[in-house]
Point group: C2
């Protein structure tokens, strides 16, 4: 039965300060210096007394500026996504924007629904880390002038900037590292590439990078959700092959690394004897003995770049040609890619 003191409005503050709403609006907008010192003082006092907070919703309505950036995340429980999101959020904040996050759980239907929702809130820009199937919704948004940034996947259709890992270079780093460590036969494990261009890019680079380096190998693509069982069989087959060339597994992303590590442990395969390496650094990679070698993505930089991209279009040239920003991975060598014979640097910590 506490009474609810209605939230104060601009007009109420104006009345309390003995001035007009225009002046109060100026005070809270960015024209404060146009007001006389004395009036500023009166407004400040009245506002504080009433506990006034500008209503962002009303602001957004009039000016058309919601000060909201939307982000579509395919899987909010994926550490990579969260790390990037962290960068995105901080960058938004630095530019005076707030972030509206929508998680799609990898479900295209939710993706469409959430896209519509973000549009309904008139987000001024959109960071997309989901399948983003061509989506008329997405194209429409772009046509209506909402800048789009894709994380780690290209869409072709909609004009949008792309920010992400330099996939080709990352795969090159991995192949070079594995070759230098003495592994000659590789299995590349990836989720189905159909859905994301970065998966395709990595896979292709892997295939084309083997020959020139004198490596043998092949790729295994499966959905971790639906075909997890198949992974074990495929690993068995790979490990049971005839021949004595040292073998290694290369995981296309953090989820795969997790699944593969589980499968290897279930089989009591010692890491290192069979090499293991993954794209995406996870906090536990150093902990699983003898440590899993990874390629760390500069997630913070990627997040910030995404927002920078949006800001540029928001403030400057909205219709410039789509641009790509690719970032380099950082190799973190650990024991999982030291063959027992030549083991020299058993573990190296993240700096």
């Amino acid at each position: 039965m506490a009474q609810t003191p209605q939230r104060a409005t601009l007009v109420e503050v104006a009345r309390a300060a003995g001035t007009s709403k225009t002046s109060v609006s100026r005070y809270f907008g960015d024209e404060r210096e146009r007001l006389s010192r004395e009036l500023q003082g009166r407004i400040a006092a009245a506002a504080r007394r009433l506990g006034y907070r500008p209503n962002q919703i009303a602001r957004g309505l009039k000016g058309g500026r919601s000060r909201l950036i939307g982000m579509l995340v395919a899987d909010i429980r994926n550490p990579y996504s969260v790390a990037v999101m962290h960068g995105v959020e901080r960058a938004c904040q630095a530019h005076g924007y707030s972030l509206l996050v929508a998680n799609t759980d990898n479900d295209p239907a939710q993706e469409r629904r959430h896209l519509a929702l973000l549009a309904a809130y008139r987000v001024e820009g959109l960071v997309i880390n989901a399948a983003g199937r061509p989506g008329r919704e997405l194209t429409r948004l772009a046509e209506q002038g909402t800048p789009l940034v894709l994380l780690d996947r290209e869409l072709g259709e909609a004009p949008a900037d792309v920010v992400g890992l330099d996939n080709a270079h990352a795969i090159d780093q991995a192949l070079d590292h594995l070759r230098a460590a003495g592994y000659g036969e590789l299995l590349y494990v990836s989720e189905p590439p159909a859905q994301a261009s970065s998966r395709r890019a990595r896979l292709e680079r892997f295939r084309h990078g083997l020959g020139p380096r004198g490596l043998a190998g092949e790729a295994l693509c499966l959905s971790l959700d639906t075909e997890a069982a198949a992974l074990g069989g495929a690993l068995d087959a790979f490990l049971a092959r005839p021949g004595t060339v040292p073998r290694a597994l290369l995981c296309a992303n953090g989820n795969v690394t997790l699944a593969v590590t589980r499968a290897l442990q279930a089989r009591d395969v010692p890491l290192g004897k069979v090499g293991l390496m993954g794209i995406d650094e996870l906090e536990w990679c150093a902990l699983v003995a003898p440590g899993i070698t990874t390629l760390a993505q500069p997630t913070d930089a990627i997040g910030q770049a995404a927002v920078a991209s949006l800001m540029q279009r928001l403030e400057g040239a909205p219709h410039a040609d789509p641009c790509h920003r690719r970032y380099q991975a950082r190799l973190i060598p650990r024991g999982s890619t030291c063959r027992p014979a030549s083991r020299h640097a058993p573990e190296q910590e993240t700096p």
Copy 2:
């Protein structure tokens, strides 16, 4: 140079459909059935043709219903927080709300700023998983009628529901399990309890639970950010004590488990010989040999309960007495709490 077809408005749709804005508003609100079949058809056609989407901002302004729930997260990179957030988001969605997330990186200044921001967007309810220092801002919000839910911490001052783990019972489970496994001397490692009531609750229960069970032990509280170095020393001291009673470490949360596991590995201490157990299940706990025993929190249920709490106050009794909902942890026993002597069940997978 692409021209920007301004986003269509209600009035434009009305004109195109040869009707009034009221009818269009009814169509997109929840009074569609009041319209004649024929008019519905005309509106639908016009809306589709123009690509109309109701402007949520304008809606929010008029009705005072922003359809937004805010969530304040202390550390968005903490898997526990993210897991709960996932539950919150899905529940919001199910109730027709969207989630505005603000991450504070454990910084009180950011916390205040973000709280103000969420208030500015007129969120209809607030889920708080941050220090939430008494905060006049918070009390004000509560007074103005915004329902509040605290995750895993009580504030005392502001009237708010609390949702979280049944800390006392969780600690009891841990102590019982460790005792049954034969450990007699425990070290409880926690972050400083000052900031969060749940940390205090766990710590206290630990202290009071030792005696009745015939256990010895003590607690170590340190900030992982600033005193990480001290952890190693404290572990050394604990492990080097005279006496032959088997010893175990109990970690107050996931962050602590990570830090402690790192410290133990750096010291080549085999898990199990020294027992290790943690609150919060992390995806890698099964992977670090011989597996780390954990108490899993029902994060999804907690997130959903938080939103349910808000909805209840939003729809029903806004001023009912603050209520507490506590959820039970689930014990996942693994090798880290099997003493070498009595090792029988080396590993057990998460179901």
